[in-house]
Amino acid sequence: MAATGTETEDLLRQLAPQVLGALVRRYGHFDTSEDAVQEALLAAATQWPAEGVPGNPRGWLITVASRRLTDLLRAEQARQRREEAAARQLVPSQWLAPAADAGTAEGDDTLILLFLCCHPSLSPASQIALTLRAVGGLTTPEIARAFLVPDDTMTRRITRAKQAVKDSGVPFALPAAAERGQRQAAVLHVLYLIFNEGYAATSGPGLVRPDLSAEAIRLTRIVHRLLPQDGEVTGLLALMLLTEARRPARAGPGGEPVPMAEQDRSLWDANLIGEGVRLITGALRRRTPGPYQLQAAIAAVHDEAATAEATDWPQILALYELLLRVSESPVVALNHAVAVAMVRGPDAGLGLLARLEPDQRMAASHRFHAVRAHLLEMSGDREAARSAYLEAASRASASLPHQRYLHAQAARLTG
């Protein structure tokens, strides 16, 4: 059966982590196996649309990748023998101890790969790049384009990341129970960063970038399928869906941001909201709240309000107060101040901001000044609001649409 390019691509992206998992489990060599799998994926991407998808596509990919791996290993081993820099390494201590989770099912391969790609020895940028390639099945040029860096830079980043994973000597197994929680938090954080990277780029040159938000949602769905009982995984998926639902309304025709209160809510995606609300409601019932569940719950309250005026601010405020106890993020502190202003009036919100101002991260962020401007305007102090908007605009250096928006807000208050 002939397949279209898109069908093939979807199938390949789905099979990529399974094939890599099978190869690393059987032969080891995370770094070289990853190269071999990429070559097999490439071969499939060119052959399948023309010649049809084989009866057992996963088996086909494993066979082709295994053959390629053998070739790559031989070249590597021959070189090492020549250089006498023998391929010898100390047996990693983890190999000498009994496996932490002996006998993991093959279905866990994708999860194990995620843990490997988000290994603490890697920088966040490397974790993201490696996750997108090894688990997401994206090619290096695609990832480079998504992050607006040259192909060479991304190739080096991924090569170094793979080398670091290999050198760390971690066995192909789930992390030991003692470090499982921390390692899983790192995986969720990387998925959330990927989502935000995509969400932040909805306009201008962003249009040609691969859809990282969709990719983050796809990967998080896989993790959710593997760990359906985990409240934070469910919370993260719900948060992504409830945020993604507002995407069609969040930018105006010129790419300028539209604040939530002014968004056309008929543009929000009701299906995504429905799914997100169902997920977060189910997760919260299990009473193991965490930062992602709380953020999803807040997003759900926003998404369920038919109009901005109908927003249940007291509930949002209560949720932010819970969130503040588990999160030190400046963004959470700012959003909390807004919720306080909405419930107890702008002066209460401004009082909170005054206490946040000494924090270096705050004073440097355009968001802090934009929130302050908004609250000052609410309180009727138009002149102070105007200068706060201008202050915000001067710090929003990274984004032209944001600068334009903030200048427009300031201009609106002139005279």
Binding site: H29, R74, A87, Q89, L90
Partner: protein
């Protein structure tokens, strides 16, 4: 009594089997390969039917080998320790039969293994009795 029949091959032989021509070596043709498969199938089938086969396995290419050895008293692992042309264990049969002679007779059948002449010229198989117990090993 149990015997192990061992078959050998180098990485280059594995390549030839996969259809890759090596230096001064012809690759196997699809017909050669089909003949080999048919022969191995019937060889093993006969052993199953005579009730003499205990187990048979083939090993993947020698490139996929990890060697563990001590270096300064610490265990080190080497990937792919064999030179390309070194003949190493490629597969084995464990048979249970009445005598060493019968096991040798079985192994001798392997001389009929079809293949390109240069491969047949180098081919060999070993037969070794399996120790049934520690006592036998120490005897």
């Amino acid at each position: 009594m149990k015997y192990m029949i061992l078959m050998y091959g180098s990485q280059q032989d594995y390549d030839a089997l996969a259809g890759k021509p090596g230096e001064g070596q012809q690759a196997w043709s699809p017909a050669d390969f089909a003949a080999l498969g048919a022969f191995m199938e019937s060889f093993t089938k006969e052993l199953v039917e005579s009730g003499e086969l205990v187990e048979t396995r083939g090993l993947t290419a020698p490139a996929h080998t990890r060697r563990i050895q001590l270096q300064n008293g610490l265990p080190v692992v080497t990937d792919g320790p064999y030179p390309e042309s070194e003949e190493v264990l490629a597969g084995y049969w464990i048979v249970e039969c009445d005598s060493f002679d019968r096991a040798t007779q079985i192994a001798a059948r392997l001389a009929e293994t079809p293949g390109p002449e240069h491969v047949r010229a180098r081919a060999k198989a070993d037969v070794r009795p399996i120790a049934e117990s520690r006592d036998e090993l120490e005897a």
